[in-house]
């Protein structure tokens, strides 16, 4: 019995040790390998790719912070319910627009170049380069933060274009005109229009 317990404890310890060892760079490598595999296996079915990739990446993304950064200074004036709704719609928008267009990258190669320290010990940014045969390399950066449940992504830059920065101006304009609820409604309407993956076109 004692030995069994010992074994269990040892096993758990090595498990947590493994989890702690995963650096942002390793996470990026694993996830990009998995995502490319998903795309290759389902290249004819963008919707399936979208859902499978979503399931793979969502535990690794801090959508709430991502949304807060995209909404900018209006975030604090939103009620918790509005913040939740914004996060939900922003996440859906990201999934429906970006993830359903992934089948273009069925022949892509992802080259993870390495991580750079961020503002604090709790932040790192991982540089990767995505290339399609014979085309220019596109740098993709993942900004990681370390929270209570490990490293998570709060921003992605494609060719220097950051998700959060690129949405801030237009979201701000909508909020100034129609308020926070106006932005939620606009995002929801567009998401509904995209329900069947028409944005993949």
């Amino acid at each position: 019995m004692k030995q069994w317990l010992m074994g269990l404890v040892m096993g758990l310890m090595s498990l947590t040790a493994l989890a702690a060892v995963d650096t942002p760079e390793q996470i990026t490598r694993k996830v990009s390998d998995d995502v490319l595999a998903i795309i290759k296996q389902n290249e004819k079915d963008p919707l399936k790719v979208r859902d499978m990739v979503d399931a793979r990446v969502s535990p690794l993304a801090d959508y709430t912070r991502m949304t807060a950064l995209a909404v900018g200074r209006y975030w604090k004036s939103a009620t918790p319910e509005q913040q939740q709704a914004l996060t939900r719609e922003f996440r859906t928008m990201l999934v429906r627009t970006y993830l359903s267009a992934l089948t273009v990258y069925k022949n892509a190669q992802v080259d993870v170049k390495g991580a750079r320290p961020g503002q604090s010990d709790n932040e790192q940014s991982v540089r990767s380069e995505v290339s399609l045969p014979g085309q220019k390399v596109i740098p993709v950066d993942f900004s990681f933060q370390k929270g209570n449940s490990g490293w998570k992504v709060y921003d992605i830059s494609v060719d220097g274009i950051s998700f959060i920065v690129n949405n801030r101006n237009q979201f701000g304009a909508v909020i100034r005109k129609d308020g926070v609820d106006g932005l939620i409604k606009q995002l929801a309407d567009r998401n509904n229009a995209l329900k069947n993956g028409t944005a993949a076109k």
């Binding site: 807060a68 950064l69 209006y74 750079r116 014979g134 220019k136 390399v137 929270g147 220097g160």
Partner: protein
């Protein structure tokens, strides 16, 4: 004519009054041009491009892409050399040499197979390398977005085209038509993305400006481009990591908020380009619209 000038002046002033983005003082005019461009695109260019992509055999499309890519490589040689980027210049020069001869005028891209990397330098980046600020963002009729500085690329190309010795109107028409369709086909995936944005114009502009800023700094900008309102830059709204287990006011998020305003000067060394906490007034000033 006078009235037109007055109108233009009014538009300029109106643009200066409410800058949503400090790089876009001509926003009202740009928006008007964008609306026309987009309309023409949807009615003429987009249908032609879709039909090109769907009906022209893939090897032909690849050949066309390679042909224009070879011309890009030609200009890249000069742009890289002017920035003392020797490796890039050599790679691009070798590509042009191999692809123009063995690749039948650029139609076949042997260079990539031979390990010669394609680079992405242009004359706008050359000016940026020598410290020229971007200048205002412009939406050019029938062309698209460009900043004043980066217009050096299309203008430079126009005056030193490698194929200028061909004196034929038919060639010119064919060349430019195919070039436009090929260029448009490359950004087809963006259409879905753009059409889902609440403000297409602002989304495109902010994306373009960030992309150029990134290219000028070869992928490692010292700090993110300050777009939008000045107080957006402070990052005071940053909640920090929002793990389910961690309340927003958790200690883990506190250092982030402090860092955002204080450690700007350290950023170039740490290379922390991914954060969006923005530089001080002086640093911003160097980028201001001239």
């Amino acid at each position: 004519m006078k009235r037109l000038l007055a109108l233009l002046g009014a538009l300029l002033l109106a643009g200066c009054a409410t800058p949503q983005n400090s790089y876009d003082p001509l926003e009202p005019m740009n928006r008007a041009v964008y609306a026309v461009n987009r309309d023409l695109d949807k009615k003429i260019l987009l249908p032609i491009t879709r039909s090109y992509v769907e009906n022209v055999p893939q090897p032909v499309q690849t050949g066309v892409k390679n042909f224009f890519g070879n011309i890009d490589d030609f200009f890249d040689v000069f742009a890289s050399a002017a920035q003392f980027k020797a490796t890039k210049a050599v790679h691009s020069f070798s590509r042009v040499l191999v692809n123009t001869t063995a690749g039948l005028g650029g139609v076949i891209d042997w260079g990539t197979d031979l390990g010669m990397q394609k680079s992405d330098e242009d004359f706008g980046q050359v000016l940026g390398f020598y410290g020229v600020p971007s200048g205002p963002y412009l939406m050019v009729p029938f062309y698209g977005p460009v900043t004043l500085r980066d217009s050096a690329e299309p203008i430079g190309r126009y005056f030193m085209g490698p194929l200028d010795f061909i004196q034929s109107a038919a060639w010119d028409v064919g060349y430019y038509s195919l070039w436009i369709v090929d260029a448009r086909s490359e950004i087809l995936p963006l259409d879905g993305l753009l059409s889902t944005q609440p403000d297409e114009y602002a989304y495109l502009r902010d994306g373009y400006l960030q992309r150029r800023w990134n290219k000028i700094h070869d992928g490692y900008p010292p700090y993110p481009l300050p777009l939008g309102e000045p107080d957006d830059a402070e990052g005071s709204f940053d909640p920090g990591p929002t793990d389910v287990a961690a309340p927003v006011s958790d200690a883990a998020s506190a250092p982030l908020a402090d860092d955002a305003s204080s450690s700007v000067s350290a950023m170039p060394e740490t290379g922390g380009g991914a954060r969006f906490s923005i530089g001080s007034e002086e640093e911003d000033g160097t980028l201001e619209v001239q």
